[in-house]
Amino acid sequence: MDKHLLSINDLSASEAIQILNTASELSKISDGPMKKLPTLRGRTVVNLFFEDSTRTRISFESAAKRLSADVINFSAKGSSVSKGESLKDTAQTLQAMGADAVVIRHGASGAAQRLADSGWISACVINAGDGTHEHPTQALLDAYTIRSKFPDLTENFNGLKVAIVGDILHSRVARSNVLLLTKLGAKVTLVAPPTLIPVGISNWPVEVSYDLDQAIKNVDVVMMLRVQSERMAASFFPSEREYSRGYGLDLARLNSLNSSTIVMHPGPMNRGLEISAESADSHKSVVLAQVANGVLIRMAVLYQLLGGAALTGEVSA
């Protein structure tokens, strides 16, 4: 990771592990009533959200505030952006405001990279989800959550078996998780109806299965993805009911899992569609831990990007 976090490809395996380790250290400090750490005092972090995502924004906001950064929330919905102001103009405004880091969520794949590469802005750019491309901090928090449940995994994930189930084609969470988990040595199987599997999948370092019951035998992690109902209108599957029967994690499938297997979901969940209420609320579910770990991971990423020498070469007083 150089200056930005745009894709899991920006991280080597050891850099990813270092972020997980940093988050582990931060978790020791944050146990109990946590005061602000002074680490990023005087730094400005802008949350630039072109799509609604309250939970991701709050997670980044709380991470930045715990490190004493100043936080500006720039929601593009209902602002000048929805009135036709371009990404470029918005970026230049943020530059003029002195942003040190921009956390961007955008509906267009590659928007974070455009922001980083274009020269419109000198701030660090953190991708908080771009279209159907990537969501790297989600993958990092998922890896952190997995590691916390499987203490044997410290420096790599060799031997870990993960099934990622659902709308792979449109999922930025799946793309980032495939890159990170395989980089760390895990064996990943993607499970979905063929309509929701990208055409270029043969080049990914994964197995593909159309059969959920087979695929979740003897896996350590079942990661369910959100399925959006508008996919049904576009004939990716015939009906919600048929999808749920084939690819939903219901009670019977939950009971077929190994005792140590955990169930993950990036949220928000469609209970009754891709995951039943019993599965979502079972002791195997680590969904709430994922949310809590999100703040730690985002603190770790902010620390890695902003905790070092200032880009301008300025020296603290």
Binding site: Q18, N21, T22, E25, L26, K28, I29, M34, K35, L37, P38, T39, L67, Y303, Q304, L305, G307, G308, A309, A310, E314, V315, S316
Partner: protein, 175 residues
Amino acid sequence: MATVLDAGEIGRALKRIAHEIIEHNHGLENVVLLGIPTRGAFLGTRIANFLGEIASPVPVGTLDITLHRDDLRMRPPRPLLPTNIPLGGIEGRDVVLVDDVLFSGRTIRAALDAIGEIGRPRSVQLAVLVDRGHRELPIRADYVGKNIPTSSNESVRVHLSEIDGNDSVEITAGA
């Protein structure tokens, strides 16, 4: 390069510090040691071992001060080092911070802030193997292994067998 302390001298200095801690605190009932990683953590463990031999075992832990440093923006980001607070915490205890070299005092200033995150000790004391002077803050050590006058462009290197393979303190002329 000149060696100013050898292994034997380091051992004797730490043992003397252990005695002084007992004396100063009238016993060890309320004492907790916190070493500042990397080398302060090893020194903390060694002092705790001496205390165990001389008197009684004391809780010993580590305290990383990276997130509290005021010079973060002058260097590339550093990985965080372990913080391990002993069971029982530090609330109301007499905390002895342990570090290898006392120089500007900024590390100790950061350590005092870091302690503030964790609890409210009755007192905080400071033990260092070497005090080389050139303080930039009103901070002093309660226990000093050796005072070594230096010029500000010299550097003091502490080597410990746990990490460096041997015990010694060296002074190197600056560039």
